[in-house]
């Protein structure tokens, strides 16, 4: 067996691996492994001291067993012993074991750090590299604490070997990313930047990653790197294909280093120094020229390496967005790639062109490729390439080509892959709205969309078409006529029925003059669909009917009869029944005037960001939406001015209650509190009336009749405000006193109960991100204030205060931040927190700054909650129940029964419970559906043990799922607070 002989050095290991490979079954493998584990254990425990070789061999076998997927619970100490061997092979296996099986066993970490320390000071480059690689692989905070001071010294010392420098640079990068507060560059900055000049290209390759990371965080301190990078790049680009010897890859000089240099330059604006800039432009031109030269090799490696540089250069050109000539050349080059036989290149060209389309200099040049792109959408075999083609069509769309692009996208939709249909629908809907010149085209497009891909038309899309029809009186008659025609189809999508019901209920009168669409014909048409529809649609239709009674008194008798029928008035669905009863009563007792007032045409919707756009952003994730964002200004043209707010705005703010599920962008498209859905809540309240106040649905109060008519506006969360929305201006308070906390600050706080990192707050000007960590009764929180505008914030000042009692419960310390935040910059603030005793309130964070002269004054609650000081406690079932019984006094227990606001996904629940900070105990509760957890809250004054039990009734219908949450702890206030906090999380 030749392979065995290659496992030189450790014959026993090779034999063991062969044995495992020869095992015919999983059982045989496990048996063989257990035998080996027993053998190794006895060797390690034996009286005879093992020599280094045997120790290495056994540790290596343990590692192999671990990599096969088996748990290893011993051997760590032997691995650590290997670290102090002076033989390379033994040390290597020791370090490898530690890197792969690292755990936070504190005594071991101390021993490991000791061994690393010895190797770092050994002056033996091989050992130093092993130690550095171990730090780079593990990167724990303890290691950062121990070595963050030492490594920069090794990196810049004159006598350090090149290979050690390479490792030191990347090791430092790892520590910086893991614990930026511990890596202080200050005095080393200049020497690190000058590594860009190092003779050894490998050192430059490694160091540039470190420099790029540091530059992106502290651009000013590192800005001298720009000219150094340009001259390095220039030397590489102008060298002949063989000049760089070892660093030439398939006739391409230093492709990876070139890419990294070009990427570093993307951290900065174009160089101000004319000479540097000239040199750089020359480099970029040379790269573009080389793309046109005949290839020096037919190998794909050659063209890939060359094009890697080309694409990175194009990224830089797009990043600068200031050289029209280069932008157009880049576009032409990509245009050639669009027809290349390599799928990779076609894909990358489509992707890169997407960003070029948003530059004013190259937008027109991109548009010339429309036919090729449409062709790609139709013919590419790889769905991801078609997806890129669709993205590019979307990006290159403007008034001149909107009709063509929308038509192509619609026709592609008929056969599109399921995976991209929903996104395509959103894009078509957005383009149709944005570039509608006449609204009949817009209405046709959306109705077509519903016809072709009804299942993928989300609520946002049909809400939006209704918003627009309501706001534009010139399209209402056409819309009514078109939906009426669309509803003639024997089978039409339920979304079509929704749009049809809503529009005819509002504007059916506009087509009633034609005997073919007389009131009764309209009603009968709608009602013919009624029985095939789901409850929410039927509820909407009932509302349309009552509107008909107002619009067309002659239909009153017919409709009353429908409402009076048993299938309505005794419908088993409470919502439908309630509507039928209320509408029937309303139509019989109200005078015509009252009826006309109550059922008046909907007022125009307030102007705001399209909820469809918001949905697309959410779907595509951050980063993909820049193209849409800059078009904010154009959107206002379409649906009426922003001045017609009025009743609808009030209705909107009543109807949309922010839910704790609001995600980072604040877009709640997954759980819109639309007028038709809260009905499920009212049902629950009846059934679970004993469930206490927490079960009261927010939607109940305004859930009387007509609520369905508010549906279209309810999808917008008040947290999301489009650029054109006038009410979204950040709070402006003239007084210099801290503003009262924002109304949503409790909700924002709730978002962070089970997680430590994320975006705390965001408006048009400012984004505040949080990263925090807690240990024992101490916590450290990093706040990142991002200036989203291009204008600087002045007098930027933040204060953290502990109101009332909290002063004696928490000790909070901060450093002040710089009073100036440049446009586009992000500043960081560190907050140290000490928990003295348990507490309920949260510290307040006040932020004040001047933006364009106006004082901005925002107060928020800092998400410091008592559960952050949990230490998880593992315990067996018997222990758990014994302690549970010990905590049986009534005041020690807090309990809540509440409705599930989210699905009951097991993994999500577990993640949240772990996020709470407690240990999740498996196999403790006799009912496997339940979750039990245990933890100890660490405060300076005392420790509070805490047990938790969460019982879901997962079998219930969605919408009726409930939880019972029980907390027991030795302190009543703690039980209550943790219970309150956690109840908001599900």
């Amino acid at each position: 067996m030749p392979a065995v002989s290659k496992g030189d050095g450790m014959r026993g290991l090779a034999v063991f691996i062969s044995d495992i490979r020869n095992c015919k079954s999983k059982e045989a493998e496990i048996k063989r492994i257990n035998k080996e584990l027993a053998n190794i254990r006895s060797k390690f425990k034996g009286d005879k001291a093992l020599d280094g070789y045997s120790k290495k061999k056994y540790v290596c076998k343990l590692l192999f067993i671990f990599l096969l997927g088996h748990d290893i619970d011993f051997g760590h100490m032997e691995a650590v012993n290997l670290l102090s061997s002076n033989k390379y092979t033994e040390k290597q296996i020791g370090y490898l074991f530690i890197s792969v099986l690292v755990n936070s066993n504190s005594e071991l970490i101390r021993l490991i750090n000791n061994a690393i320390k010895n190797d770092l000071s050994s002056r033996n480059p091989t050992f130093m590299c092993l130690a550095l690689h171990c730090i780079a692989n593990v990167g724990s905070r303890e290691m950062a604490e121990a070595f963050a001071g030492e490594i920069p010294r090794i990196l810049v010392a004159g006598d350090t070997m090149d290979s050690v420098k390479q490792s030191a640079a990347l090791c430092l990068l790892r520590l910086y990313k893991a614990s930026p507060d511990l890596v202080l560059m200050g005095e080393w900055t200049s020497r690190v930047v000058h590594l860009l000049n190092d003779q050894h290209m490998g050192v430059v390759t490694a160091a540039i990653s470190l420099i790029t990371c540091l530059s992106s965080k502290n651009p000013d301190e590192f800005k001298t790197c720009v000219s150094l990078a340009v001259s390095r790049l220039s030397r590489i680009v102008s060298s002949a294909s063989t000049d760089l010897q070892d660093y030439t890859y398939y006739f391409v000089p230093a492709p990876w280093l070139s890419c990294k240099l070009l990427r570093l330059l993307q951290c900065y604006p174009p160089p101000e120094d004319g000479a540097v800039k000239g040199r750089l432009v020359e480099c970029l031109e040379t790269i573009l020229n080389k793309a046109q030269e005949p290839p020096k090799s037919k190998k794909v490696q050659h063209s890939n390496a060359k094009n890697a540089i080309l694409f990175e250069a194009i990224s830089l050109i797009i990043h600068y967005d200031s050289e029209p000539n280069l932008l157009v050349r880049a576009c032409n080059q990509l245009g050639q790639f669009l027809q290349h036989r390599e799928t990779n290149l076609r894909y990358l060209a489509l992707e890169s062109m997407c960003t070029l389309a948003s530059s004013e200099f190259s937008h027109e040049a991109v548009k010339t490729h429309i036919e090729t792109v449409i062709n790609a959408l139709k013919t590419e075999r790889d769905v991801s390439v078609r997806q890129r083609a669709a993205d590019l069509l979307y990006a290159m769309c403007d008034r001149s080509n909107a009709k063509q692009i929308v038509a192509e996208m619609l026709s592609y939709l008929e056969t599109a892959d399921y995976s991209i249909r929903e996104e395509m629908v959103l894009k078509v809907a957005i383009l149709a709205e944005k570039y509608a010149v006449d609204y009949s085209w817009y209405v046709d497009t959306i109705l077509n969309l519903i016809r072709i891909a009804g299942d993928y038309v989300s609520e946002e899309v049909w809400y939006r078409v209704i918003q627009i029809v309501i706001n534009r009186d010139d399209v209402q008659g056409y819309a009514a006529k078109t939906v009426f025609e669309a509803l003639q189809a024997p089978a039409c999508h339920e979304n079509m029925v929704k749009v049809g019901g809503y529009i005819l209920g509002e504007f059916g009168n506009l087509i009633a003059g034609d005997p073919r669409s007389s009131p009764l014909v309209q009603f009968n048409l709608l009602h013919s669909k009624f029985h095939l529809c789901s409850v929410p649609t039927r509820a909407l239709l009932l509302s349309a009917y009552i509107k008909f009674i107002n619009l067309f008194p002659e239909t009153k008798a017919t409709i009353q009869e429908v409402l009076r029928s048993d299938s309505q008035i005794r419908n088993s669905d409470v919502e439908l029944q309630q509507r039928a009863v209320e509408y029937l009563k309303l139509s019989s007792i109200a005078s015509t005037d009252v009826l006309a007032t109550v059922l008046e045409e909907m007022p125009p919707f307030p102007e705001r960001e399209s909820s469809i756009l918001a949905k697309l952003k959410k779907k595509k994730g951050p980063g993909a939406v820049t193209v849409e964002l800059e078009d904010g200004k154009e959107r206002g043209e379409l649906n009426g001015g922003g001045d017609r707010g009025g009743d609808a705005a009030i209705a909107a703010s009543n109807a949309s209650t922010p839910s704790p599920s609001a995600d980072l962008l604040g877009l709640r498209s997954t759980a819109p509190v639309s007028g038709t859905t809260p009905s499920a809540g009212s049902l629950l309240v009846d059934v679970f009336s004993e469930a206490g106040p927490s079960a009261t649905s927010a939607g109940v109060n305004d859930d009387g009749f007509l609520s369905a008519l508010h549906a279209p506006e309810a999808s917008d969360s008040p947290l999301v405000e489009g650029p054109g929305d006038s009410d979204s201006a950040p709070p402006t308070v003239a007084s210099e006193d801290p503003a009262p906390p924002l109304p949503e600050s409790d909700e924002l706080l709730n978002k962070f109960v089970c997680k430590n990192n994320g975006v705390l707050f965001e408006n048009q000007l400012l984004q505040i991100g949080i990263k925090s960590e807690y240990r024992q009764n101490l916590g450290r929180m990093y706040l990142f204030y991002g200036n989203k505008t291009s204008v600087q914030f002045v007098s930027f000042n933040t204060t953290v205060s502990c109101p009332g009692e909290l002063q004696s419960q928490l000790n909070v310390q901060t450093k002040t931040v710089e009073p100036l935040v440049e446009g586009g910059a992000q500043v960081q603030q560190v907050i140290n927190i000490e928990c003295l005793t348990d507490f309920i309130d949260a510290p307040l964070l006040n932020i004040k700054f001047r933006y364009g002269g106006a004082l901005q004054n925002i107060s928020l609650k800092l998400p410091v909650t008592i559960n952050k000081f949990f230490q998880p406690t593992e315990m067996a079932a018997a222990d758990f129940f014994q302690r549970w019984k010990q905590l049986s006094q009534p005041q020690q227990e807090a309990q809540k029964i509440f409705k599930a606001s989210h699905g009951m996904d097991t993994e999500v629940l577990k993640a949240k419970l772990l996020g709470l900070g407690t240990a999740l105990l498996e196999n403790v509760d006799p009912n496997p559906e339940n979750y039990v957890c245990a933890g100890v809250i660490q405060t300076k004054a005392q420790q509070v043990g805490c047990l938790l039990r969460l019982e879901p009734n997962a079998q219930a219908q969605p919408g009726e799922q409930m939880y019972r949450l029980t907390l027991r702890s030795s302190k009543d206030t703690v039980s209550q607070r943790v219970c309150d906090l956690l109840a908001e999380q599900f």
Partner: protein, 167 residues
């Protein structure tokens, strides 16, 4: 300007999230993680990567976008991409940010494979199995902390031969 994510979530964070070598049957021949994942997550990722990569053929690109947790403690998903290349029965996969340079990593894989081939004299799958502990050394020479450390095959091989000669 729009900040959509925090600095610690957004690029340039760790470039390479993980490197995987798998065979067609889904057996892992090397897994190198540059981000903290727990064991279950690792297993899930391994299965996911295998599922998306093995269904693709030569007409497809060498890139696949996937959605993964952006960081462990915040339950936030983000898109990443897997850049992969198939050599006989083995898939070499690198997971990077969506904004990273596809072709540079694609050739990074090939460069790595050429080094393995030279080092093991016509590398085959079994070499990676029996010498798994040496493969980690090769990886660390060429990629460290999720970044490209050394790209010169000559330099890497010289260093590996030197290490080989040590006891």
């Amino acid at each position: 300007i729009t900040f959509l994510t925090l600095h610690f979530l957004s690029s340039p964070a760790i470039q390479i999230r993980f490197i995987l070598i798998q065979n067609r049957a889904g057996k892992t021949r090397l897994a190198k993680w540059y981000m903290q994942f727990d064991d279950d997550e690792k297993q899930k990722l391994i299965e996911e990567v295998h599922a998306v990569v093995t269904v693709r053929d030569a007409k497809h690109t060498n890139f696949v976008e996937v959605r993964l947790y952006a960081c462990l403690s915040c339950l936030q998903f983000r898109n990443f991409k897997i850049i992969y290349r198939r050599y006989a029965g083995l898939y070499f996969c690198i997971c990077v940010d969506v904004t990273d340079n596809n072709l540079a990593y694609l050739e990074g894989i090939h460069n790595f494979v050429e080094v393995l081939n030279e080092y093991f004299h016509n590398v085959c799958e079994l070499d990676l199995v029996f010498n798994f502990y040496k493969v980690y050394t090769v990886v660390d020479e060429m990629f460290l902390a999720g970044e490209i450390r050394e790209t010169s095959q000559t330099k890497v091989l010289k260093q590996l031969l030197m290490l080989q000669s040590l006891e």
